[in-house]
């Protein structure tokens, strides 16, 4: 079991200080880990939606 009080290092790059104006000038490799996670979810749309019987929305 993981320790309960340890800080958790996430898998998402911290872009909180980045302006949109700088976004396109970045090396894409900087975002590769986060992008891989994002695209894996995009490719499986049914796994992104949660809720109370949302299949009945159809």
């Amino acid at each position: 079991m993981m320790p309960q009080t340890a800080d958790v290092q996430t898998e998402v790059q911290d872009l909180s200080a980045m302006k949109l104006a700088d976004l396109q000038h970045q090396d894409p490799a900087r975002f590769s880990g986060t992008l891989r996670r994002l695209l894996s979810r995009v490719e499986q749309p049914s796994r992104s939606i949660s809720g109370y019987n949302p299949q009945r929305l159809d």
């Binding site: 911290d14 995009v42 490719e43 109370y52 949302p54």
Partner: protein
């Protein structure tokens, strides 16, 4: 609190992760997700922009021009642009367009109509930043939607290109929450000019709801027009009539009062996790529809609630999903996402493991809501969902597909659920909750789990030779979704009516043959089962199965009736697929005799 102590990755403080993993998370923890979600959104946006070509904008200005307008707005007012880009439906749009470009989904509408949402986003950013600008945007279904601002109507047009323009009003009122309300921002199509002004009947500003109770505030936008509000792809606007808007506001005031006075910390977490509610028409009574999507942080979809209590529960439910959705962007809970689907007690269909985790997380919040309430209906819900949570969490604790973070999440949620005191409930409520839990599982198995063919062959031979039933086979067959599965909660809805609305239940008893018309997913015999007349229920299910031998609803009902009569039923309720398959293979056999043989209570006839 989520602190940015790493140079390159977000870090979640240990105590915050602990709180979130236990199914809680205060407002401050939730607000920090706006920071992490911005990083997530920016990566998606950058990838989309790198994928799009200028030509894909069709008759609109090149993609690069729309992006330049966003950057101009950022230079003038960075917060305004952050608010615009972080609007939840922008996340849905990014995901949808990436899916469309990647061939994951198809769409018959011209690509530029989807691409042009970027131009609408740019227009909103420019309006909010008070820029002087003009940008062409798509017209779809006779309207131009400016995300989170409102909708301009062009009744004579279906599709086309309109122009959003403003001479700029940077110095007028830069902090105004309703830009355009008193300014000269216009949307033009040919000779028709719509002003973003309250006195222009062709402009419909986005409606908002809010409530204040004991110093706690909740406020959100009621988005009934955004093209990407259904969480999957485009949908045409469906602006609510004023009476519905008033009803949402009325229900919110009452629901917020319940939440704040019942559990203020959770209420404040709800308010922090919600900026947008996408309204749906009322669903069937006792069966609200609601949904959320991790790409649309802080947005939920919800049907018009039956009452304030249901709305309060839905707000808790969906904001649990919002929190876990943001958390699963940050860490991995499931190492093997492609394994077999599993049982989820709140769904008609089998769910992937990650989906089950979402459901568990939501129902920990829901059950925590119900267990604090004392009316019979709430005690039923607390007893039912507490039982169901213990069932699935016990199974999850041994699921080898979980990552270390997933194991920790399950362990923390298990501790939360098992740490709750046993909710007080009378014998009838306890009986109905236990029955509803067993019922759902039995129907689900009967529908989605196949009986092993070799076992069925062996059982038929044993039946025909007058021998004992073969041993129950191990559970090795992965569920396969039966897409006909609907309304597995029918008898649970009857139980709710029985406990909370005696007059309606009496009316149902008066016309048992019509019960399924009022409550889909029910049989006439269910009324006897709910009222405790198990003998009559047993005969009813038996008669039903004579003509509909594969009915999962009737097989589960038969098991429940036998159990209520004190007769062996465990093999029917835990493995109903076996009796169902056997009865189909023995078309002349009496269903009750098959059931008794299955449970070891009788020899074959």
């Amino acid at each position: 609190m989520i602190a940015d102590t790493s140079e390159s990755h977000h870090v979640i403080a240990g105590h915050d992760f602990h709180s979130l993993a236990r199914g809680h998370g205060d407002a401050e923890s939730v607000r920090q997700f706006t920071v992490t979600e911005r990083s997530w959104r920016l990566v998606g946006l950058r990838h989309l922009l790198a994928t799009l070509t200028d030509e894909q904008a069709g008759p609109l200005p090149p993609v690069a021009d729309a992006w330049k307008l966003i950057l101009r707005a950022e230079e003038a007012d960075e917060d305004a642009v952050t608010d615009t880009v972080m609007y939840p439906q922008v996340g849905i749009w990014i995901a949808h367009l990436l899916r469309r470009l990647g061939g994951v989904v198809t769409d018959t509408e011209p690509l530029w109509t989807d691409v042009g949402y970027l131009h609408a986003v740019a227009a909103v950013a420019a309006v909010r930043a008070g820029l002087a600008f003009a940008v062409d945007v798509p017209v779809r279904a006779g309207v131009v939607v400016l995300p989170a601002l409102g909708m301009a109507r062009f009744p004579d047009a279906t599709t086309g290109v309109a122009t959003v323009a403003s001479p700029g009003r940077r110095d007028d009122n830069p902090g105004d929450d309703n830009p355009g309300e008193d300014g000269p921002v216009t949307v033009s199509l040919g000779d028709t000019v719509v002003r973003l002004a309250a006195d222009d009947p062709a402009w419909r500003p986005a409606p908002r709801c809010h409530a204040d109770v004991d110093g706690a505030r909740i406020a959100f936008l009621l988005d009934d027009v955004d093209p990407y509000r259904d969480l999957r792809g485009y949908s045409a606007p469906a602006p609510l009539p004023p009476a519905d808007l008033a009803r949402w506001q009325e229900l919110l005031t009452a629901a917020w009062t319940i939440l704040v006075r019942q559990d203020r910390a959770r209420a404040e977490g709800v308010a922090a996790a919600l900026t947008t509610l996408i309204p749906l028409p009322a669903a069937k009574p006792y069966r609200p529809l609601s949904a959320s999507c991790d790409e649309a942080f802080a947005a939920i979809v919800a049907s018009m609630p039956d009452d304030a209590e249901q709305f309060a529960m839905t707000l808790v439910h969906e904001t649990q999903h919002v929190k876990l959705g943001a958390l699963l962007h940050l860490v991995t809970f499931v190492d093997d996402p492609d394994g077999p689907a599993v049982y989820a007690p709140w769904r008609d269909d089998p769910r992937p493991l990650s989906g089950l985790l979402q459901g568990v997380y939501a129902f920990v919040g829901i059950t925590d809501f119900w267990r604090r309430r004392t009316d019979p209906g709430s005690r039923f819900e607390a007893a039912l969902w507490g039982r169901q949570l213990r069932r699935v969490l016990a199974a999850l604790r041994t699921d080898s597909r979980l990552s270390p973070f997933g194991e920790r999440l399950v362990a923390e949620l298990y501790d939360t659920v098992t740490g709750w005191p046993q909710p007080p409930a009378d014998a009838d409520t306890t009986r109905l909750a236990a029955s509803a839990a067993a019922d759902h599982y039995a129907q689900w198995r009967a529908l989605h789990v196949a009986a092993p063919e070799d076992w069925v062959r062996e059982a038929v031979l044993a039946w025909n030779s007058g021998g004992p039933r073969p041993a129950i086979p191990a559970t090795v067959i992965a569920p396969v979704t039966d897409t006909s599965a609907r309304w597995l909660d029918g008898r649970a809805v009857l139980a709710r009516i029985h406990l909370t609305d005696p007059a309606q239940f009496a009316a149902l008893l008066h016309a048992p043959g019509a019960v399924a018309d009022t409550i889909p997913g029910t049989l006439p015999a269910d009324l006897s089962l709910i009222t405790g007349d198990a003998a009559a229920a047993l005969e009813g299910y038996r008669a039903h199965l004579v003509t509909d031998r594969g009915s999962p609803r009737a097989w589960a009902g038969l098991g429940l009736a036998l159990d209520a009569l004190g007769r062996p039923a465990a093999d029917l309720l835990e493995r109903p697929e076996l009796a169902r398959a056997l009865a189909r293979a023995l078309p002349g056999a009496d269903p009750l005799t098959v059931a008794d043989w299955m449970t070891g209570a009788a020899a074959p006839c």
